[in-house]
């Protein structure tokens, strides 16, 4: 990496500039109040999206039924989102798709976060060659475009939900690892850690009792920030026909079907599922941004969308 003489011309990921601009220009215009409002609105939107994704497919009388007498119907009172190429009601299908996409994203994020936290904690607390080796692996993972590596994984373990979960989980942990590692490095020289070690505590004990509780907020924040990535990743894989099996109506699968339908003029097959996807992504990133401002005021995460 290029180092700076003055240490200010090149912020990592543009982060410090943003905070500088916010303190100078943002707070003057009530920036924090607006950020809080945005975070609250995001929570409301996200909760309603999740509720609808759970309830709509559950309460609908006939979910996902093929009906060749009403193929590619534009939106109308009976079918608020229209119908798809097999005559399935897109309203129910889209919400069911959002449920599957969110579920896959949540599980993959969990995999990523656990893996990343473990690697980061071990690298940060052990140091030495363990740290160097693990960080080289992190560098390597970060220098492969995630979608491409994900495609390689699903291609070789094709056609299962597990493949998609692993494809996302195994490619997104590196950023979490880095965040957690730097947190651990910051902890290492704290007096209470020194005290524990001089009192005869073992490495694993310190890791479990002192380090883990301290890194949990960072890890959870990273996890929340990863969710939109995971949703995007799953959707993109499914859209390309490489992700979830076709019978699972994920947003990506619906959009993949919509690709041919758009050419026939059926824009609604793309627009409505895409709207749900975009609303979810924006709500999650709005929530994460608001939370980050409150929980970690001085540091801007490299994970920002």
């Amino acid at each position: 990496m290029v180092e700076l003489d003055s240490g200010r011309a090149r912020p990592p990921g543009g982060g410090e500039w943003r905070s500088a601009a916010r303190t100078r220009a943002g707070t003057a215009r009530g920036g924090t109040g607006r950020a809080r409002l945005r975070a609250r609105a995001s929570v409301v939107v996200l909760v309603s999206l999740v509720l609808a994704a759970v309830l709509v497919p559950m309460l609908s009388p006939a979910p996902g039924l093929v009906d060749y007498t009403s193929v590619r119907m534009p939106p109308e009172p009976g079918h608020p989102f229209g119908t798809d190429t097999s005559g399935r009601d897109l309203f129910v299908r889209s919400w069911a798709g959002l449920r599957i996409s969110l579920l896959v994203a949540a599980v993959s994020t969990l995999v990523s976060t656990v893996l990343g936290s473990a690697v980061g904690a071990v690298a940060g607390s052990f140091g030495g060659w363990v740290d160097r080796l693990l960080m080289r692996v992190v560098d390597a993972i970060n220098s492969v475009p995630h979608l491409l590596l994900g495609i390689v994984i699903v291609a070789l373990y094709r056609g299962t939900v597990l493949a998609v979960v692993l494809s996302i989980g195994l490619t997104h942990w590196a950023t979490v690892a880095r965040v957690v590692r730097s947190e651990v490095l910051g902890l290492r020289n704290r007096p209470y850690i020194d005290a524990a070690i001089s009192a005869g505590a073992g490495r694993w004990w310190v890791l479990r009792k002192h380090v883990l509780p301290a890194i949990v907020p960072q890890a959870v924040l990273s996890a929340v920030l990863l969710v939109p990535h995971a949703v995007f990743h799953e959707t993109a894989l499914s859209f390309l026909g490489l992700g979830l099996p076709p019978h699972l109506a994920s947003i990506g699968n619906i959009l993949g079907d919509g690709r041919a339908a758009v050419l026939l003029g059926a824009w609604w097959i793309v627009v409505f599922p895409a709207l749900l996807l975009v609303a979810t992504t924006l709500a999650v990133s709005g929530l994460a941004a608001g939370w980050r401002d409150r929980a970690v005021p001085t540091r801007r995460s490299e994970l920002s969308l």
Binding site: A9, R18, R136, V137, V144, L147, V152, L240, V262, L282
Partner: protein, 333 residues
């Protein structure tokens, strides 16, 4: 004389930076290719089935074993990795199973189209973000700024393939201005006019999908730059507003922009994969999808390495540009 000497030192520093990065790139590339190789080795997918196709049911066990030995598939993973690696170094990239031609040929045919698309898309994104970001920061809080900021945040959440489908629906089917997909119209010959016509929409979609981060970044750095002492100084000297913003504040703001640009190669690759797939653009990125569908390991591995090299090159170019542009930066890392 003095300035010449300084330039010479800078040049030397850049040379060392490039050399050091190249040396550092070797272990990363090795690690990536070994990782991909291990993934393939652990895969339940057996390449021998692909070699035979349906004929595997007619082949005798002895034949299958013989072919397996001929293809070197019966050897341990490390040995196969070594074979593949030494082939790579000597220029033998293997044979693509899904395209049924040498991987080198696939690259030669498809790489130029991807470079054309990526360069046009990135160029479009840079111009768009510089113009929009500068105008937005200039009149912070005005209607243009609010529109740009809101649009930028909204676009961040829209995946490139949705953007591509919407663009096709609007510009190709709705308005009929531009062709839907491909490189040329059916039956017409490959010519510059045809290619430009077919390039416009994918390049614009790729550019717009990359632009939000860049626009918001330019805006933020310019806002920060506008509060700096040398800008206040320029204002105090009574310079015109245009000179202050474009000649004093913007150059400061552009330095981090170059770094961000170099760091965005992974997203550019991701965008290219999706955009090429939607528009049936005959580049290497859409070959990734074809190769993945056929579990075409030799092609996938080379394309992954290529993308990794592109990412490393992007960050190297950004750092070189930073060293060349900013005298405060020292090249010691």
């Amino acid at each position: 004389m003095r300035s010449e000497g300084r330039l010479g030192r800078r040049g030397e520093a850049v040379l060392w930076l490039v050399l050091r990065r190249l040396v550092m790139a070797v272990p990363v590339l090795l690690l990536v290719s070994f990782g991909v190789f291990l993934l393939a080795a652990a895969s339940p997918f057996d390449p021998i089935h692909q070699y035979y196709g349906v004929q595997i049911f007619n082949a005798s066990t002895a034949d299958v074993a013989r072919v397996r030995a001929e293809l070197g598939l019966d050897q341990p993973v490390l040995l196969r990795f070594w074979d593949w690696l030494s082939g790579l170094v000597t220029g033998d990239l293997g044979v693509s199973r899904s395209m049924r031609q040498p991987v080198a040929e696939v690259l030669a045919e498809r790489l130029p189209w991807t470079l054309l698309l990526a360069a046009s898309g990135l160029g479009f994104a840079v111009v768009l973000s510089l113009v929009a970001g500068t105008l937005a920061a200039w009149r912070q809080g005005g209607w243009f700024d609010r529109t740009v900021t809101a649009l930028g945040h909204a676009l961040e959440g829209i995946p490139p393939f949705v953007l591509a489908l919407l663009a096709i629906a609007l510009f190709s089917l709705g308005l009929g201005w531009l062709p839907v997909a491909g490189l040329t119209d059916a039956g017409s010959r490959l010519g510059a006019g045809q290619v430009v016509e077919h390039l416009l929409l994918p390049a614009a979609v790729l550019g717009v999908s990359q632009a939000p981060w860049l626009v918001l970044h330019v805006r933020q750095s310019l806002l920060a730059a506008l509060t700096e002492d040398h800008v206040t100084g320029a204002r105090a000297r009574g310079l015109r507003e245009r000179v202050v913003v474009l000649r004093h504040a913007l150059p400061t703001a552009l330095l981090p922009f170059v770094a961000v640009l170099g760091a965005r190669v992974p997203e550019l690759v991701t965008g290219a994969v999706l955009v090429e797939a939607v528009f049936s653009w005959p580049g290497v990125a859409s070959a990734v999808v074809t190769a993945a569908q056929a579990a075409d390991y030799p092609l996938l591995a080379v394309l992954t390495l290529l993308a990794t090299a592109a990412v490393l090159l992007g960050s190297l170019l950004a750092d070189v540009a930073a060293v060349l542009l900013d005298p405060r930066v020292s090249a010691d890392g």
